[in-house]
Amino acid sequence: MTAQRKMESAIRVHRSGPLALLQDLGRFGVRHLGVTQGGPADLYSWAWANYLAGNPWGSASLEITFGGLQLVAERDLDIAIAGADLGATLDGQPVPLWQRITWKEGQKLAFASPVSGLRAYLSVRGGFAAEPVMGSVATVGREQLGGFDGWGSKLADGDRLAIYTPDGKPAEGMSEAPDDVRMDFRESPVLELLPGAQIGEFTGRSLYDAFNTWWRVDDRADRMGVRLLGPKLQCRIGSLISEGINLGGVQVPPDGQPIALLNDRQTIGGYPRLGALSPLSASRLAQCLPGQEVRLRACGSGPVLEHYRCFLAGFRP
């Protein structure tokens, strides 16, 4: 399907910045081989960026972490940026986020540093183009999979990025996201956690602490997982026989500091878990900067599922 679409170089990388990764929905049906999921750490903002750019669900976007990336358009492009406010400018002028805009040939799109949130999603109408590896272009450097070259390489200054040529018809759907869906990531979020099987193995005091503490996001935070700093949680079991870990799983190693596991987590692991964050709470956590505070709230699956289905229904065919 995608193989027949025309690819063309459309963007030149002026400065590659610390971390910009090509991400589609991720790699599925291969986790039993030890291959991680990949995909956008903030599914919510990624979905909005693609939707506003007029792209179908699953299109590949650039996930820009921290900022620092500078790109030059080699022809006129319709784009949308959603997610973190990284102080993006077009030839020095601030770029409006959460809406479709035109990026003119020769203009420089520059991301500065985090104002609100950590990861911005840049979608170009047509979608970024790369050859899928194991069914996905999601970039996982550790596994040498995906990205523009197929080997999970980082962008380099001077790289040229290809897109699929848009069909020529004007983009359908809304071009600007309503105010109430635009996230302000500076607020301290309350994250929904669905309790897991080992929750009863934590001491009463630790369970109280787990859900009544403002946890601080550690420096040890990346696409594999985010460590939270706070009171030491104590579990009666130190380790489990390794087993599969789902997105958002919150594991507690012997040091008592929980780690919420995100898209690039290892596929199996053996620490006891409090439970799993809802997919949208995992997305929200991925936008937190080190030092930011978060709270965990134990939830039943009913309302969380309804909320998630409602979100997906707006984007997925």
């Binding site: 599925f28 039993h32 999921q37 958002g248 199996i268 692991g269 997919p279 599922l305």
Partner: protein, 242 residues
């Protein structure tokens, strides 16, 4: 049935909005695997398009489904129905016995001496002990195609390195505790390195990608330097390989 039903196995545990952890066994045992692989296959047909991923491991199967197509309670019911009728697979994994040509040598297996010292065996005995047993793949994880195999002879049991190596070369054959593995890609690693295999463990161009699957049987076959090189093995010594 006796005992506490809440602790009875198999049981299903919540693994988030879109996942169930099926806990089938309490302890690591080769005999677990035909049950786990059978359940994985049956989930594939029962869930169809609503299946997202399956992660089998030593005692469990994680089932991840599409929460739009299937509610958690419907998914739970499907798995429960399968468990009622479950029969173990006759062949585990692909039913294959893989022979991995392995060059056991201090140049590519820098922990041979350490293991010999720790176990009180000679290097030759360590090699003989490791290569004389057929192992079972219990789980894949850590990195693409990385197979956790076991169990090794208890006499070979050796703890992990205190400080993991930053980069273990591709093909390195290693042991830790009662398990053995071969590194499909160059990654950090804390296991004791005994040698190197020329087998291509992970290949993105190959159908199925990974040479080894959960349930497969594996033997390490000791080969000479010449034979190892003839099969395309890389004899770059550990120091130079980084």
């Amino acid at each position: 049935m006796t005992g506490n039903p809440a602790n009875a196995l198999p049981r299903l545990e919540s693994a988030g909005l879109d996942g169930w952890m099926v806990r089938l066994f309490e302890q690591i045992d080769e005999a677990n695997l035909p049950w786990i692989t059978a359940l994985a296959r049956q989930c594939e047909s029962a869930f169809g398009d609503a299946l997202v991923d399956l992660v089998p491991s030593y005692t469990t199967l994680l089932v991840v489904f599409d929460p739009v197509r299937l509610s958690p309670s419907d998914a739970r019911q499907k798995i429960t129905d399968l468990l009622v009728e479950l029969e173990p697979d006759e062949h585990m994994g692909t039913g294959q016995v893989h022979e991995l040509p392995t060059f056991y040598d201090p140049s590519v297996g820098p922990d041979l001496d350490r293991v010999a010292e720790h176990t009180g065996m000679t290097v030759a005995e360590v090699i003989d002990c490791h290569s004389s047993k057929t192992y079972r793949v219990f789980a894949l994880g850590f990195a693409p195609g990385f197979a956790f195999m076991g169990l090794i002879d208890p006499r070979l049991e050796c703890p992990r390195l205190d400080t993991p190596r930053k980069k273990v070369p591709v093909g390195s054959v290693a042991i830790a505790a009662r398990q053995t593995a071969a590194y499909p890609t160059a990654t950090p690693g804390g296991w004791n390195l005994l040698g190197r295999t020329s087998a291509r463990l992970f290949d993105r161009e190959r159908e199925g990608f990974s040479l080894l699957r959960v349930g497969d049987e594996v033997r390490f076959v000791s080969v000479s330097r010449e034979e190892f090189e003839r099969q395309g093995g890389d004899t770059t010594p550990m120091e130079a390989a980084g």
